[in-house]
């Protein structure tokens, strides 16, 4: 009987498993798919692995070069040298502030519950005050505002603004005109500590975890987390096998864990309500292509015209419809294998993701590609199109939302995924949550898994 069962071999599950094993616990990790890494397979642009995680696990950063923005008939390299006069000042501010905030992301969110001690809260307050009055003032003013207003105070170039803000809107269910989207950009900057290629990350982390002695079971879905008298007793697999353990760390999303993997009779009503109201409206669709004969300007591209282009694409999400404008895209090129992400495909599409809807989305994505890089349509063979519904099915994540919970102020920090669940533990003895649905969340950072493992070890 292992000390801990980790449910889900996404990057956070793997990080947590390896961390626990290295601390001397016996660990079994169960992953439903044959391929490891979960959504790391889907995300690429701006995705990063936290410096601490990378160091602990020995994952080497991989320099993939500059990001290039294509749009409004122009090409712009995002390496800090764009000649918009306000850009450098803004960038310097973001760097200063995000460095201090990043230190807060490497520890559990402050506990704001009634019974929590005051001192750690005060310490967080003091850490943030280190920013100094002027930077803090700017942070408090800018964070609640919309990212379009904020960047427009500093810059005029629409393409530059759009390319900077686009990745910050991923997983937020917001557009550039949505208040608090500026906070997402600051958070995004704080997350960015080291770069590596997420596509290979899953297999790399699997090797690391196996190397330290984690027992890994692939291709087996956990069907139920067993609970007896309010305590975890183990898991049941889809093939009928059962594994006993008194500690289970679930890395497949708080909502799915609490609503699907537990016997509903074992979940107190209040806890079930907390899980039900977690917002997980996915908007990501991925087009996988084999392309030859195209001269790519960079390995990573953002195709977008200006902030209002992003806003119109968000309107499509809001009204649950297929693209009414050629959607903004992000592209990652790895030899002939090209992946294209569209972040404005609504999970809740009116009429559902039928064959016609899929064809229309693919067409719209090609229209966008073709405008930026003429000739792509003819040079490409489609290997796969993943809609949010496919992502939900294939990756087993609620709403097809790759962050297991929208990145909004009310679902971040001490509120991620709810005030009572933000410390990785749950009201069910022995059940822990450790994926990006819990603080600090976000893209590929591994922090949530690491912090969840530390929380278990701290017990």
């Amino acid at each position: 009987m292992p000390d801990v069962i980790v449910v889900g071999g996404g990057h956070n599950g793997l990080v947590a498993a390896a961390t626990l094993r290295k601390a001397g616990r016996s660990v079994v990790l169960v992953e439903a798919r044959e391929r490891f890494g979960g959504v790391a397979d889907l995300l690429f642009d701006g995705s990063t692995l936290s410096g601490e995680v990378a160091k602990t696990l020995g994952v080497a950063p991989d320099d993939r070069g500059d990001v290039v923005a294509l749009g409004a008939g122009r090409t712009l390299t995002l390496n800090g040298s764009a000649d918009d006069p306000g850009y450098a000042t803004w960038q310097a501010w973001v760097t200063r502030v995000s460095t201090i905030l990043a230190s807060q992301l490497d520890q559990p969110a402050p506990d704001i519950s009634k019974t929590a001690p005051v001192w750690p809260l005060a310490k967080t307050g003091l850490a943030v005050r280190k920013l100094g009055k002027k930077d803090m003032m700017e942070l408090l003013r800018s964070a609640p505002s919309c990212v379009d207003d904020w960047l427009s105070e500093h810059m005029t170039d629409g393409l530059l603004k759009a390319a900077l803000m686009a990745p910050a809107l991923h997983g937020t269910w917001m557009g550039p005109r949505s208040p608090t989207s500026a906070a997402s950009l600051v958070l995004r900057a704080a997350m960015q500590q080291a770069t590596c290629s997420p596509r290979m990350l899953g297999e790399q982390l699997k090797t690391t975890a196996a190397g330290v002695g984690v027992e890994i079971v692939g291709g087996q879905a956990v069907q139920r987390i067993r609970v007896d008298e309010g305590r975890v007793t183990g898991v049941e697999l889809a093939n009928g096998d059962a594994i006993d353990a008194s500690t289970v760390l679930s890395a497949v999303g708080p909502r799915k864990t609490l609503l699907d993997l537990l016997d509903p009779r074992m979940v107190p009503g209040k806890l079930a309500h907390q899980a039900r109201v977690i917002r997980v409206r996915g908007t990501l669709a991925q087009l996988r292509l084999e392309v030859s004969g195209i001269d790519w300007p960079a390995r990573r591209l953002r195709i977008v015209n200006d902030p209002m282009h992003l806003e119109r694409a968000f309107d499509d999400v809001k009204f649950r419809r297929l693209p009414t404008v050629p959607p903004p895209l992000e592209v990652e090129v790895d030899g002939a294998s090209v992946r294209v992400n569209c972040w404005s495909a609504p999970y809740e599409l009116d009429g559902g993701w039928t064959e016609d809807a899929r064809a229309a989305l693919q067409d719209a994505m090609f229209d966008s590609l073709e405008t930026a890089l003429p000739g792509v349509r003819d040079a490409a063979t489609v290997t796969e199109l993943l809609t949010p519904a496919d992502i939900e099915d294939q990756f087993g994540i609620d709403g097809g939302h790759p962050m297991h919970g929208e990145l909004a102020l009310d679902q971040l920090g001490p509120m991620r995924p709810s005030m009572q669940l933000s410390r990785y533990g749950t009201q069910i003895e022995g059940l822990w949550l450790g994926c990006s649905g819990v603080h600090p969340g976000g893209g590929i950072s591994g922090r949530s898994g690491l912090l969840a493992a530390k929380a278990i070890l701290g017990r």
Binding site: K133, P179, D315, L409, D410
Partner: protein, 536 residues
């Protein structure tokens, strides 16, 4: 002795703008025995809280039209009831549907329950519980609007002590309410309500309160907060949300003005201020527009919007450059218009005819959340909403004096009408009537006989609100009520305590903490701060 207002015999304070906040400030200062002069540009006091007769026999509350948060301490201190103020509660919140009887929410919980149960029995069960939870939060928030905002950036022990107290009160709410408060402050109205309710026909009208006066949609984060205000109303101490002042909103201003005069304040109308007199970094008085007369005072208080105050009356040359930058970043986007209509006769709503209790409150044209979001979409791209959100009140049903017998006044608050039209704000005059038509066309879908009954119509666009009432970009709250422009950041971080970087110049309008609506709080709090600081 020389005339009051000369250099040798200055006023204690001159207040620029005779809106309800300017008047409130004046009344408090006069009550404390100070020599006060209020200067109002228009021929009538009240600013945006004004009643005027633009068609014989009919009275319009030209701009603001209902009252909810007028502070009880102001009512008491200034004896507003004695000075003629009478507020009648709104009896119902009615949301008609184009093809259905729609929803009425009544003061009587049982009646409301039956109405909501028609849409969703589950929602009907939860509705009272929701009210109780949000009501408890509003009691937590209320102290914020009744005292100056503490500054978390300050190292002043008083601020820190006040903050600590707030933090303590926050935790003492208990975990469930703390979480709820957190959500309420950051979520969109629709997302927040969806955690409780399932019926879109209920969520839509409830979410509207969060968009009034903002350039945001019901699905924009941060719009849930204003829901609280609906549970904060304090007419005569009852918790009823909204009321209608007999005589229109101008009656509030008249009562405050009458109170101010009774304490000895001097109020001059048709006296537009050209600029603030500044000598050696100190405000010493004002220069009037016509004739260039100079009036001197120990303190100058502006009830006008901050950007107007600092850019027009003061001038950037008298301001620290950082402050001037922040003032220009202060967001004032107007998003609403007003249409006032004189009706020859009562016009029925298609699915709930008659002039019964269901129309003696506010009526929201908000059939669905998608409808509201589409209305916002039009404005986002620089046009008025083809099918807008309308908040409708029939003042003549609540106060017979507003229109001749058998005839009616219809007050339509309309959103969205963006100040920044795609073709530029100066093109509003040529689009004004088209905007009015969109409003009437929308209403006619619910009130088929409307068009034939219209005797007169006044259409106010954001452009008009700026030109006629001095509201920068037509923003009805003197600056958007976004999180980044509230509390210690209203209007500029560190300058939320009514003081400004120009010595002896103060703010007392809705652009100061706690913000817009007919509350009187900025005016009252500014006066108290001035007296406490020994400035007057």
């Amino acid at each position: 002795m020389s005339t009051l207002g000369s250099t040798s015999n200055p006023y204690d304070a001159i207040i620029i703008g005779g809106g309800h906040n300017g008047l409130t400030c004046a009344a408090y200062l006069a009550k404390a025995g100070r020599k006060v002069l209020v200067l109002e540009r228009r021929h009538i006091v009240g600013g945006a809280a004004v009643s005027e007769s633009l068609y014989p026999g009919f009275t319009y509350s030209v701009c603001s039209y209902v009252v909810s948060l007028l502070r009880p301490w102001i009512m008491r201190d200034l004896e507003l009831v004695k000075h003629g103020l009478k507020i009648v509660p709104l009896e119902c919140s009615y949301t008609p549907q184009p093809d259905d009887i729609g929803l009425c929410r009544w003061p009587d919980p049982d009646k409301t329950r039956r109405e909501i149960a028609r849409l969703s029995p589950r929602d009907a069960d939860i509705y009272p519980e929701f009210g109780r939870a949000v009501g408890r939060l509003s009691r937590f928030v209320k102290p914020f609007i009744d005292s100056p905002a503490p500054d978390p950036l300050s190292l002043n022990p008083k601020d820190l002590w006040q903050l600590l107290g707030m933090g303590k009160a926050f935790r003492e709410l208990g975990d469930d309410l703390t979480a709820l408060q957190f959500k309420l402050t950051t979520m969109s109205g629709v997302d927040f309500l969806r955690e409780w309710f399932e019926s879109d026909q209920l969520i839509a009208p409830m979410s509207c309160s969060g968009i009034i006066g903002t350039f945001l949609g019901v699905k924009s984060p941060g719009t849930a907060y204003v829901l609280l205000h609906h549970y904060m109303g304090e007419i005569d101490g009852s918790s009823r949300a909204w009321g209608f002042p007999v005589g229109g909103t101008g009656a509030i201003s008249e009562a405050i003005a009458s109170s101010a005069r009774s304490f000895g304040a001097e109020i001059r109308c048709s006296a537009a201020v050209e600029r603030v007199l500044i000598k050696n970094g100190k405000a010493t008085g004002v220069v009037l527009q016509d004739g260039g007369d100079e009036l001197h005072a120990r303190q100058v208080v502006s009830g006008c919007e901050p950007r107007l105050t600092f850019n027009k009356f003061v001038g950037a040359e008298h301001l620290p450059s950082e402050f001037a930058t922040q003032v220009n970043r202060y967001k004032c986007r107007g998003s609403s218009g007003k249409v006032n209509i004189a009706l020859d006769r009562w016009v029925d709503f298609k699915h709930r005819p008659g002039d019964g209790m269901h129309v003696r409150g506010d009526i929201a044209i908000a059939p669905s959340t998608d409808y509201l979001e589409r209305a916002y979409g039009d404005a986002k791209y620089g046009d008025f909403s083809k099918r807008p959100y309308i908040n409708l009140v029939f003042p003549s049903l609540l106060d017979r004096g507003m229109a001749p017998p058998g005839k009616h006044v219809m007050s339509c608050f309309v959103q969205y009408a963006p100040y920044d039209l795609a073709e530029g704000p100066e093109h509003w005059p040529e689009k004004r009537e088209a905007f009015g038509d969109a409003v009437v066309d929308t209403l006619a879908e619910y009130m088929p006989g409307l068009k034939d009954a219209i005797l007169h119509r006044q259409v106010l666009t954001p452009w008009d609100l700026e030109q006629d009432f001095g509201l920068t970009e037509g923003n009805i709250f003197h600056g958007e009520l976004g999180l980044e422009q509230l509390l210690f950041q209203r209007p500029v971080a560190g300058w939320a305590r009514y003081k400004t970087p120009v010595r002896n110049l103060w703010l007392c309008g809705s652009g100061a903490h706690p913000g817009g609506g007919i509350m009187g709080a900025p005016g009252g709090l500014a006066a108290k701060e001035m007296l406490k600081a020994g400035a007057v």
